[in-house]
């Protein structure tokens, strides 16, 4: 057998996936700090669903189950989806979303390496369209909530939908800043009035900005480990910052400042963990810049003019479709060729 090269220094796919999960740990810790331990239940549920559905689909497709389960890609999808969902989403929503991500977005297209769309975002988008109310009901950060749910209370709520006696749903939930911003703007409130609300923090949302900072930290770790390149996050964040900056300069009364857009919503999660999914993204350096900048612009447009408070999922899915085109037009110059 001629199989040169005979040596390899490659990290395995599994180790890459584990590093991505490791990079998510600070954000999860921040999450627990801000919203309580319920996220751990969500993560566990999503992981379990992902592994079970992945195994089932592999079995049905006659693929080696063990080889593909141990690659860790299903877990990464599950974690990303779990972190994108509202922290107190009911159990069936988590299970359904994960199942859609794994079965429809990943396995039906051919499993690892063959999905044209980001599985986590497909799961998220499907849930957002089907259950908009549930998907936009975010718990208030513990610091702001009228009633602080304990870990057990949160778990009970996830599984049964029941709150402790005497606690109203309103007491534990609040609108997210982007959501609040959108509804209040339609009521003709000025931005200055709106941002007086305690849900706005220094940069983004109270509490949420801490989680965003943790994503940023994890993302920098991934760049340092050469799991992702700088192109995608930098282009994405720059596009959002420039868009938000231009609009903010044009009319500071109607458009939020760039910091809110960078540290609010799912921006940081998206910048370092969602759009950096290699399978559904472009491969050329220039293509990465175009792809990420496109998602950034589109996210901003959906946030400001669209029907949903955040547009990351739709923007990502839309640009996933464009990937083959982007790749085809951004082929780098090959050694010894002009152009």
């Amino acid at each position: 057998m001629n199989r040169s090269p005979y040596i390899s220094e490659a990290p395995s796919v599994t180790s890459i996936m584990l590093k991505v999960m490791l990079a998510l740990v600070p954000a999860i810790a921040a999450y627990v700090w801000v919203y309580g331990g319920g996220i751990l239940v969500t993560l566990a549920l999503a992981s379990l669903t992902a592994i079970v559905t992945e195994a089932l689909m592999l079995k049905l497709r006659d693929r080696p189950v063990r080889l593909f389960i141990t690659d860790g890609s299903a877990l990464v999808t599950a974690w990303l989806l779990a972190l994108a969902l509202p922290p107190l989403a009911p159990w069936w929503l988590i299970v359904l979303g994960t199942a859609i991500a794994i079965v429809v977005a990943k396995q039906i297209y051919g499993g690892l390496g063959n999905n044209p769309f980001n599985p986590a975002m497909v799961g998220y988008a499907a849930l957002l369209i089907s259950f908009p109310a549930l998907m936009t009901t975010w718990p208030a950060p513990l610091a702001l909530a009228e009633f602080e749910l304990g870990f057990v209370d949160q778990m009970l709520f996830i599984f049964s939908g029941n709150l402790p006696a005497g606690v109203a749903l309103d007491a534990v939930t609040s609108a997210t800043p982007l959501d609040y911003l959108k509804t209040q703007l339609t009521l003709n409130h000025s931005l200055q009035e709106i941002t007086q609300s305690p849900i706005f923090g220094t940069l983004g949302a109270t509490g949420g900005e801490l989680v965003a900072a943790a994503y940023l930290l994890g993302g920098l770790y991934l760049i340092q480990q050469r799991i992702i390149t700088w192109h995608l996050p930098v282009a994405f964040l720059a596009a959002i910052a420039i868009m938000a900056g231009l609009f903010y300069l044009a009319d500071a009364g109607r458009f939020a400042d760039p910091a809110l857009h960078l540290f609010g919503g799912a921006t940081m999660l998206c910048a370092f963990f969602i759009i950096t999914d290699p399978v559904s993204g472009p491969t050329t350096p220039r293509g990465k810049l175009i792809f990420a900048a496109g998602i950034g612009i589109m996210t901003y447009v959906i946030r400001v003019y669209g029907g949903y408070p955040d547009g990351v999922a739709f923007a990502v899915i839309f640009f996933n479709i464009c990937v083959p085109l982007i790749d085809a037009y951004t082929q780098p110059r090959v050694f010894g060729h002009d152009k």
Partner: protein, 566 residues
Amino acid sequence: MNAIVNLSELIKRKLGKTGLSSFNGGVHPPQHKLESTTSPIRPVPPPARLVLPLRQHVGNVSKLQVATGDHVLKGQLLARADGQVSAAVHAPTSGTIAAIDNQLIPHPSGLPDISITLEADGRDEWIARQPLDYKAMSKQELLDSLREAGVVGLGGATFPSHIKLREDARHPVRTLIINGAECEPYISCDDMLMRERAAEIVRGIEIMRYLLDAGRCVIGIEDNKPQAAAAMRAAAADSEVAIDVAEVPTIYPGGGAKQLIKVITGLEVPSGRLPSEIGVQCFNVATAYSVHRLVHHGEPVISRIVTVTGHVGHAGNYEVPLGMSIRELVELAGGKAIPELIMGGPMMGFNLPSADVPVVKATNCIIVPDSAMFPEPPPALPCIRCTRCADACPANLQPQELYWFSKSQNLDKAREYKIFDCIECGCCTYVCPSNIPLVQYYRFAKSEIIAQDRAREAADIARERNEFRLKRIEREKQERAQKHAQKAAGAKTEAAPADDAKKAAIAAAIERAKAQKAEMTPKNTEAVSPVVAAEIAEIETRRAEVQAASTTEARTEEKQSTEEAK
């Protein structure tokens, strides 16, 4: 931390005082060169039996000059270069030609090829050697003697050197690069040659420089070989011509000709073109050494330095007569001739089909692996498009796309994405987290495309010849019809006395017979290529021989029968 190191390396390279350029990607595999550089080059006495394949170089198979049973001397010509792109084969020792037949050769196909088997007589007796006064002869004469001496690129490509040393008025060579980079792990034959025979290499370089009339001459050596660089620098200082030594950064595949040219001159060899077209020519140090052996000692290429390393008792470099069995060489180095022997390095080498293949001009290294050295890769997973391969590719290709097209046998697309700019260095496979044997897919796709192109060319020739034949038949038909018509018209005007009619009938019959005869003689030898014409000539002589033989046979038979009758 890694990122910082990489960045600082990049900055150093970009701003370095060396004035060196760089290329995309590359990898840093473990070197493993120390094992084979602790002892000097060891000479190997000629073995009892040598096998010399006639195809040890790029180009035409060389033409046999000896027959079975002939006694030859060391250095005697066994097979002559056939055409320009070809190289000669010589006897590495004195002895008798035992056989000329198909033998296993060190080739990834594992197929046998035409080879000369030489039984040594043990006397190791040289043919008369004549050093060349190269400045007194014309450059063409010198090139011819290089061709006659079988000088080819000993870096592994084995391209006949006389072609690269030919001066071309359209593309004068400004920079002559001597490749001593030796970037591939384990291999150290060039390193040891430079350490021990620097002066001789420089003598060879002087001749090459003279032939090409190159203005600048640079020896490129990776900075992991300080001893070789020092030796070459000292030898270059003694030379009457200016020869620079450039220590290039150690990065695989920095020793690839195109990569080394880029690093030293900053120029990229255009795709599908030759380095000479950008005024650069690149030779391996061992090639320079063999030029020196020929010119100053009158010795053709009959041996080379081979690194034997890995799981052997005395890893090191050996000066091996060409044609020696690799089994004997490995055993001489204190290793076992196991079936998994690798020729070349771990990045681009290949498994030998058997240990019983000869050392050839391309054999730079033999690795005897043990199970721990090169473990089987884990099962391959699907490509996740992580683009580590693209980051590592020295040709700046998109290996993940090429993989996709090669795997689905979408050959046109593979070509469009420049698969022929792939140098098969293996960097992509080396860094692939999914353990995909990328290079194997590219090799497959390339050889399929080449086969397709050849088939298309053959089809074009067949179409042309078929059309030509149809035209010829048409023309002949018309000519015949014309003649008949003329005859008929002539007959009519003579207006039919009986005698004349008879005459005319006879004439027509003769004409018919003539036409028939003409038809019998094939006219299909018009408009053929020179190659085919040569083939035809050969066939004609063979035919004449057969005919002569058969007539004499017939005559003897006749004689016999008459004698019997008596």
